[in-house]
Amino acid sequence: MNERTDKRISNLLKLASIVAGLVLWHVLAVYVVNDRTFLVSPVVVVHTAYDMLFVNGELYPHLFASSWIFFYGFALAIVAGVPLGFVMALSPAVRDYVNPWMTTLYSTPRIAFAPVLLLWFGIGGGAKVAIVFLGCLFPILINSYYGMRVVNREFVELARSFRLNSWALFIKILLPASVPFILAGIRLSVGRGLTSVAIAEWFGATEGLGFLVFFAGQTLNIPTLFVGVAAFAVLGMLGFEIVRRVETYATPWRKQSQGG
């Protein structure tokens, strides 16, 4: 068996698996369960998605609302996380003082902060952005920290032998060397940010994908629920892919970066 046929069989198997799964789902939904408030056929889900995207456009306001929250929180996390990570890497004192708080905040399930932040910021946009910010901050911060810590010694020695001052050392050596790590942190944050958006929109929101999913769950509107979940999955994969492209573009010397 040569490689080409093997590849073909492999793709065929994957396709067969997807088709078989969908058929099973359809049969289960239509002939076994037969209860629209419990499970609907994938056909109905696709139909609903089509309606919400192209006929009545119901999905768009939610999509936009969620995107704004996501981007604000995400951008703030990058703006705050990268410098803080650098400062922690360059100053052991700052690191030691910040570390216990950071470890605690990082290992707490994020949902626990949601009611507290809501209490502080109210149910407007502020609390939602803050929840996303907290969700995205730590992977970015920690990766920036590591990026700066593990800069190859030889690079630094090279800089010293060229008598670079510390600012030039930072700009020309330390910063570029830590870019791959920062990007890996950003990639990890995409998924966490989306989860945080969903969390944020469950509390006192009136629009957004998280609200859509939550409301559909409360009203037993299964097709809409599935569409919302699928939207989250698609956004997650999209965001991941975008960051991966940026990674290969920005750091062409790295073939494959580790993460997650």
Binding site: I111, A112, P139, L188, V213, G217, V229
Partner: protein, 261 residues
């Protein structure tokens, strides 16, 4: 952070940072804020914690969350390792499972929680399922990767020692994949904790998530903060336990000080 290089200094600074932060918080909350609701001072949080412990309310919720977590996690470990093993061993099985595992992996779990609650009710079962799903996917993916990336030299060794297939699995493949499996567990722990709290928050009558919701809806800030602290402690403890476990079971593998999720 290499704790061995600076045994005292960083610990001391950490302690100063925590004690100082708490004192500052207490001071500011007592002095500046008229309203206890926004940021209750640590002292009233401690008082609330004491009251909740004495009345037994806290124990009951804590136990509920812990049991849900334990059930989901252990079943996920067993089933995840078995499925992951077969995915690593048989390429065709891997290809059949792959699209579905990848889909499950890319869906943020908390968006599926409403669905799981509709299917399995508001009781304990739905939370166990949530924990199971999160942990199982992480373990399956990592176990399969571990089995696939096994050093071929070890398998040759097994062959030249004439190990049977069961012995090869038990003595070579499983220990070889163990670091990966533990990584999967570690990834699962944090997310599963989030998942179980979300599920309890949405619909439950016991558990820390329920307590979180209850206290925020009744504007009982000290109680809310008690719950937040407890969840933070749970996160810290479980993370450190698994890190220790990892170091013990797979000492040859360097582990990162902070997990990246």
């Amino acid at each position: 952070m290499p704790a061995k290089n600076l045994p005292r200094k960083d610990l001391l600074r950490g302690a100063i940072s925590i004690v100082g932060g708490l004192a500052l918080w207490e001071f500011l909350a007592q002095l500046l804020l008229e309203n206890d609701l926004l940021i209750p001072p640590p002292s009233s949080v401690v008082r609330s914690f004491w009251n909740l412990t004495v009345s037994g309310e806290l124990n009951q919720h804590f136990a509920a969350t812990l049991i849900e977590f334990a059930y989901g996690f252990t079943t996920a470990c067993v089933i995840g390792v078995i499925i992951g093993y077969f995915m690593g061993m048989h390429k065709r099985f891997d290809e059949i499972m792959d699209p579905w595992i990848a889909t499950l992996y890319s869906i943020p779990i908390i968006t599926v929680v409403p669905l799981i609650i509709i299917w399995f009710g508001i009781g304990m079962v739905s939370k166990v399922i949530v924990v199971f799903k999160i942990t199982a996917v992480a373990i399956i993916l990592n176990t399969a990767a571990g089995i696939k990336h096994l050093d071929p030299v070890w398998l040759e060794l097994a062959k030249s020692l004439r190990l049977g297939s069961w012995e090869t699995t038990y003595k070579i493949r499983f220990p070889g994949a163990l670091p990966y499996i533990i990584t999967g567990m570690r990834l699962g722990v944090g997310r599963a904790l989030l998942g179980v709290v979300v599920a309890e928050l949405m619909a439950a009558n016991a558990g820390l998530g329920y307590l979180l919701r209850d206290s925020s809806e009744t504007w009982d800030s000290p109680k809310l903060f008690v719950t937040v602290f407890l969840l933070a402690a749970m996160g810290l403890v479980s993370f450190n336990l698994i890190k220790r476990f990892e170091r013990r079971m797979a000492p040859w593998r360097q582990s990162a000080e902070w997990s990246t999720e």
